[in-house]
Amino acid sequence: MNGIPMEHGLILASILFSLGLAGLMLRRSMLFVLMSLEVMLNSAALAFVVGATAWNQPDGQAMFLLVITLAAAEASVGLALMIQLYQRYRSLDLDAASRMRG
C-alpha cells in the first residue's frame, strides 16, 4: 500500500469531485444528476480512505462506512423521487418540474 503517494489519491478524489459537481450543475436528466451525486460522495469517501492510510488512523475507514451508508440512503430516496417525477411528467428532465415560483 505504500506504493501510491497520498497526493495521487487526493488528486484523483479532487478530479472525481469536480466531475460530479460539473455533472450536478450541467446535466438536465435526473438520472445523471443522481449519478453525479454518487460520484461526489464516493470521491469524498476516497479522500477519507487515502488520508486514513497515509496517517495510519482507523477513523477514516469508519467514516468511509458511514459515507457508504449515507450514499445508499440517498440513492433510495433519490430513485423514489425519480420514479415520481417520471410518473407525473413522463420525463426525467428536472426543468420540467419547475412550477414553484416565489
Partner: protein, 622 residues
C-alpha cells in the same frame, strides 16, 4: 344572605352564551332555542327566588377583587337593593317572555345559535350593569350591552343598510360612553373611589351644591345616559336600530338597554342633586325629546319606526321625571313602559311575520279580524301607551310623573308633558288604524298567516297584555325609601286637578285622532300632499332633520379631513420601510425559480465564496 340566587341569575345567561358560542354551529336550531330561552327562564326563576329572599335594605357581596393597583381596587361586587331587584325582574321576566316569543319569530332564520348567543350575552351584561356595586363594573355591563346591541342590530349582516345601522348605533352611543368614561375618571380623581355607595356618601362632603366640579361630573354622566337612552342630541341611532329582528327591538331598544340611562341617573341621584342646573337640563332634554319624538312618530310609515320614536318619547318622560327629582316615578314608568312597549313590539313582530316581513303601514291594513291576538296586543299596549285612564298601567306611571312636575312647579315641563300625551294618543291611533283597519294595501296583508303556537306566540303576548293593564301598576312595589323625597310626596293640593288634566289630554288625543283619521281622512290627505303641509310631513318624517344636520356638520367634514390626511408627507416616511422591504422581496422572489440546477449553482458559488473567505482571512489560512 341571598348570594346564590343573585349570582345564579346572571350566571345562567353567561353559561347559555358560552355553550352557544362554543358549539360553533354544531347545535341545531331547536337545541339552540331551548338553551337560549331556557337559560333566561332559569335566570328569571333565580330572580324570583332572590326577590322572595330579599329582606329589605341593601345587601352587598364582594366576589373578588378585580384589579388591584395602589388605591384603585375595584371589585367584582354586587349590591342588591330594591332598585336592582326591580331592574333584575324586568330584565329576566320581560326578557324571558321576549326570548320565548323569539323562538316563534326566528323560526327558519339562518344563524339562530348566533342570535341566542348574543341575546344571552346581552341579558348577562345588563344584569352586571344593574347589580354592580361600583361604577367600573357598571361600565363593563354598559359597554357589554352596547356591543350586544351592535351585534343584534346587524344580525342580518348581509344587507349593507343593516350593517350601517349597527355601525351608527355603535358610534353614536360610543360618543356618550366617552363622556361617561370621562365622568368616571373625574369621580375617581376627586373622590378616590368608584364604589357607588361611597361616592354618594363622599360627594356631598367634598363638593358644595352647585359647585363647578359637581356640575361637570353630573354633566359627563348625563352625556353617557343620553347616548344610551337615545335622547336629544344623541338619539339618531334608535330609529335605524330597528333594522334588527323585532324581538331585539323589544328587548334591547324598548324594554331594557335604552332605559339604562334612566337607571344610571336614578342610581347616582345624590350626585345629580348636587348639581341643580344639570337636573334642570335633564328635565328639559327629556321634555324636548318627548315632543320631538312624538311629532316624528306622527309622520312615520314603518310600524317599527313609529314604535321607536314612541320609545324615545316615553324615555323622554322618564328623563323629565328624573329632572324634577321624582326618581321613583321615573323607575315606575320604566317598568310599565317595559311591559307595554315589549307587548307592542312583539305584537308588531307577530304582524310582520304573519305578513311575510311587511312592515309598511301603507301596505298593511284590515288585519284585525285575521290576527286577533296581535290586534289585542296592540290595543292593550296602545291603551297603556296613551295612558288610558284607570285601566292601563301607563296611566298610573305617567300621571305620577306629571303630578311630580306640577308639584315641583315646573309649569313649562308640565305643559310639554301634557302636549306629549295628546300627541301620543294621535300617533297611537294612527298606528293601530293604519295597521289593522281600512283596506289591505298588499297581497301579504290580504292573506296573512297568523301565528298558531300557543306556548311561543300566544303566551308571551297574553302575559304582557295582562301586565300592561292596571295589574302591572299594582305589582310595582314602590321604591320610596331608596330615593330622596320627591316634590310631590308631601303636598296633595292639585293632585285631582292634575289627574283630570292628564285624563283629558289622553282622551283629547284619542278623540282628535278619531275625528281626524275616521271623519276627515281626505281633508288630512289633502293637507299632507302639498304646500306647507307636505313640507311639515317631510320634516317630521325625517325626525326634524337631525340626521342630515349631523351628516353635514360632523360626518362629512370628518371624512373630508380623513381623505386629506391620507396623503400627508409624514405618511411617506412611514411607508419607506415598507417600500424597501417590498423591493427586496421582488428581488428574492425572482431567485425562487423552481429549477434545482440553478439552486445547485448558487449553492456551489456560495460555498466557494465562504471557503475562499476562510482561506484568505488573516490568521485563518490553512
Amino acid at each position: 344572605m341571598m348570594v346564590t340566587p343573585v349570582v345564579l341569575s346572571f350566571l345562567f345567561p353567561l353559561m347559555g352564551t358560552l355553550i352557544l358560542a362554543f358549539s360553533a354551529g354544531r347545535l341545531g336550531p331547536r337545541a339552540s332555542s331551548v338553551i337560549g330561552v331556557g337559560s333566561v327562564g332559569l335566570a328569571a326563576l333565580a330572580t324570583l327566588w332572590a326577590v322572595m329572599g330579599h329582606g329589605g335594605g341593601t345587601e352587598g357581596v364582594t366576589l373578588w377583587t378585580w384589579i388591584a393597583v395602589g388605591d384603585f381596587q375595584p371589585t367584582i361586587g354586587l349590591a342588591v337593593d330594591g332598585l336592582a331587584l326591580v331592574m333584575m325582574s324586568v330584565i329576566t321576566g320581560v326578557g324571558f317572555l321576549i326570548h320565548l316569543f323569539a323562538a316563534w319569530y326566528m323560526t327558519g332564520e339562518a344563524g339562530i345559535t348566533r342570535f341566542y348567543a348574543w341575546m344571552n350575552l346581552f341579558v348577562f351584561s345588563m344584569m352586571l350593569l344593574v347589580l354592580g356595586d361600583n361604577l367600573l363594573l357598571l361600565f363593563l355591563g354598559w359597554e357589554g350591552v352596547g356591543l350586544c346591541s351592535y351585534g343584534l342590530i346587524g344580525y342580518y349582516y348581509q344587507g349593507l343598510d343593516n350593517a350601517r345601522a349597527a355601525f351608527k348605533a355603535f358610534v353614536v352611543t360610543r360618543i356618550g360612553d366617552v363622556f361617561l368614561a370621562l365622568g368616571l375618571f373625574l369621580i375617581f380623581m376627586e373622590l378616590g373611589t368608584l364604589d357607588i355607595a361611597t361616592v354618594l356618601a363622599r360627594a356631598p362632603e367634598l363638593w358644595a351644591e352647585g359647585s363647578a366640579t359637581a356640575n361637570l361630573a353630573a354633566l359627563l354622566v348625563l352625556g353617557g345616559a343620553l347616548g344610551k337612552s337615545a335622547q336629544v342630541p344623541l338619539h339618531t341611532w334608535l330609529p335605524d336600530a330597528m333594522a334588527g329582528p323585532t324581538p331585539v327591538s323589544a328587548l334591547i331598544h324598548a324594554a331594557t338597554m335604552v332605559t339604562a340611562g334612566v337607571y344610571l341617573i336614578a342610581r347616582l341621584n345624590g350626585l345629580f342633586l348636587l348639581a341643580p342646573d344639570v337636573m334642570l337640563l335633564v328635565g328639559v332634554i327629556g321634555a324636548v325629546s318627548l315632543l320631538l319624538a312624538a311629532f316624528a312618530a306622527l309622520a312615520q310609515t314603518d310600524i317599527k319606526r313609529v314604535l321607536a320614536y314612541s320609545t324615545m318619547s316615553q324615555i323622554g318622560y322618564m328623563f323629565f321625571a328624573l329632572g324634577v327629582g321624582a326618581f321613583d316615578a321615573a323607575i315606575f314608568h320604566l317598568v310599565t313602559h317595559a311591559f307595554f312597549k315589549a307587548l307592542l313590539f312583539l305584537s308588531a313582530g307577530a304582524v310582520i311575520i304573519s305578513c311575510h316581513h311587511e312592515q309598511d303601514m301603507g301596505k298593511l291594513g284590515g288585519l284585525w279580524r285575521k290576527l286577533p291576538v296581535a290586534y289585542g296586543g296592540f290595543v292593550v299596549g296602545g291603551a297603556a301607551l296613551v295612558a288610558l285612564p284607570l285601566v292601563s298601567a301607563g296611566f298610573f306611571s305617567k300621571d305620577e310623573i306629571l303630578w311630580q312636575a306640577m308639584a315641583a312647579e315646573r309649569t313649562g315641563l308640565l305643559i310639554a308633558g301634557l302636549l306629549g300625551a295628546v300627541l301620543t294618543g294621535i300617533y297611537t291611533v294612527r298606528l293601530i288604524l293604519g295597521t289593522f283597519h281600512g283596506e289591505p294595501g298588499s297581497d301579504h296583508a290580504r292573506h296573512p298567516e297568523p301565528g298558531t303556537s300557543v306556548f311561543t306566540h300566544h303566551l308571551p303576548l297574553v302575559v304582557l297584555a295582562v301586565l300592561s293593564t292596571f295589574i302591572g301598576a299594582w305589582i310595582y312595589p314602590g321604591l320610596g325609601g331608596l330615593f330622596p323625597e320627591a316634590p310631590g310626596d308631601t303636598v296633595e293640593t292639585g293632585h285631582t286637578l292634575l289627574q283630570v288634566l292628564a285624563m283629558g289630554a289622553a282622551i283629547a288625543g284619542l278623540a282628535l285622532a278619531g275625528w281626524l283619521f275616521l271623519m276627515r281622512r281626505s281633508w288630512l290627505d289633502n293637507i299632507t300632499d302639498k304646500g306647507a303641509g307636505a313640507g311639515l310631513w317631510k320634516l317630521w318624517h325625517h325626525a326634524w332633520g337631525f340626521d342630515a344636520l349631523f351628516d353635514r356638520a360632523l360626518v362629512r367634514p370628518w371624512q373630508w379631513s380623513v381623505r386629506m390626511l391620507r396623503f400627508d408627507f409624514i405618511n411617506l416616511f412611514m411607508n419607506l420601510p415598507a417600500l424597501i422591504a417590498r423591493a427586496f422581496n421582488a428581488g428574492l422572489v425572482r431567485s425562487q425559480n423552481g429549477r434545482t440546477r440553478s439552486y445547485a449553482v448558487v449553492m456551489v458559488f456560495g460555498t466557494t465564496v465562504i471557503l475562499l473567505a476562510l482561506a484568505l482571512a488573516p490568521g485563518g489560512g490553512a
